[in-house]
Point group: C2
Chain length 137, copies 2
Amino acid sequence: MHVQELLALFRKNGYKATTQRLAIYNFIISRKDHPSADQIYQALKNGYPTISLGTVYKTLDLLERLGIIQKLGFNEGSIRFDPDMELHINMVCSKCGKISDYKTENVKKLWSAIISDMGIKPKGQRIDIYYECNDCK
Amino acid sequence: MHVQELLALFRKNGYKATTQRLAIYNFIISRKDHPSADQIYQALKNGYPTISLGTVYKTLDLLERLGIIQKLGFNEGSIRFDPDMELHINMVCSKCGKISDYKTENVKKLWSAIISDMGIKPKGQRIDIYYECNDCK
DNA sequence: GTAACTGCAAACGCTTTGCACTCCC
DNA sequence: GGGAGTGCAAAGCGTTTGCAGTTAC
């Protein structure tokens, strides 16, 4: 999603397009791994010295409500934020925790087959595969 | 897994088979939804008045280390415990949060197709589908 | 008998909340 | 100008930790 679209989406829903919100969104989509709230905060502190962790959380909640990011709760007590709302698989390294997305047409096709097998109308999904990434092997 | 097997597994790994551990495991497998630590604690308090939440957590960690249950972190800050270690889909009601498992041969077949498509060796997986359950419709 | 386990309570860490100040529109 | 949003600090809440007393073996 481009800045212009995001701006329009905010305004359409009666939310203000603040510097912080745009910065947070831009940061998330610039990253392939799925950062935690604190990682976002730490990274933005330099460019935006007065930004606060509370604002990061509030913005992430807002982006989720608008349906443009997904929250992924993990066992270690952390929540990660994924800006990809299309069907994909989260490849999670079970050693270092790094996450990368896997998205192919074939996966979509096979997933549709699973859905039609189940006979329900899904509102969303979350698919994790735990493995050992190349760095950790 | 039967009590006898669980007992053997504990002893093989040098852990003691305490009343609390057996009770916690038995409770989890008796439930189709995936209870949280506190739900387990609340349910067992009656039959085991001195049991503590700390013990519940420690036991759940142990069971996970032994590879017989899976922790599922959710966005709402809670962790649920799933005693089914075979491939299945967690059907999560997005309104009431109820979870039920979906497990068929067809899902296993389609999932294997996805895995071979990816060309990795998974150590485990977690598949959630969010939908609206019959009670909430 | 003794090492592991329990139960309790305190500590912890991530997230949420409340509120005065600030900034977008 | 006014109301939504920010930043800060305190509160909240699920989970972990430490330790003295207890239990399995």
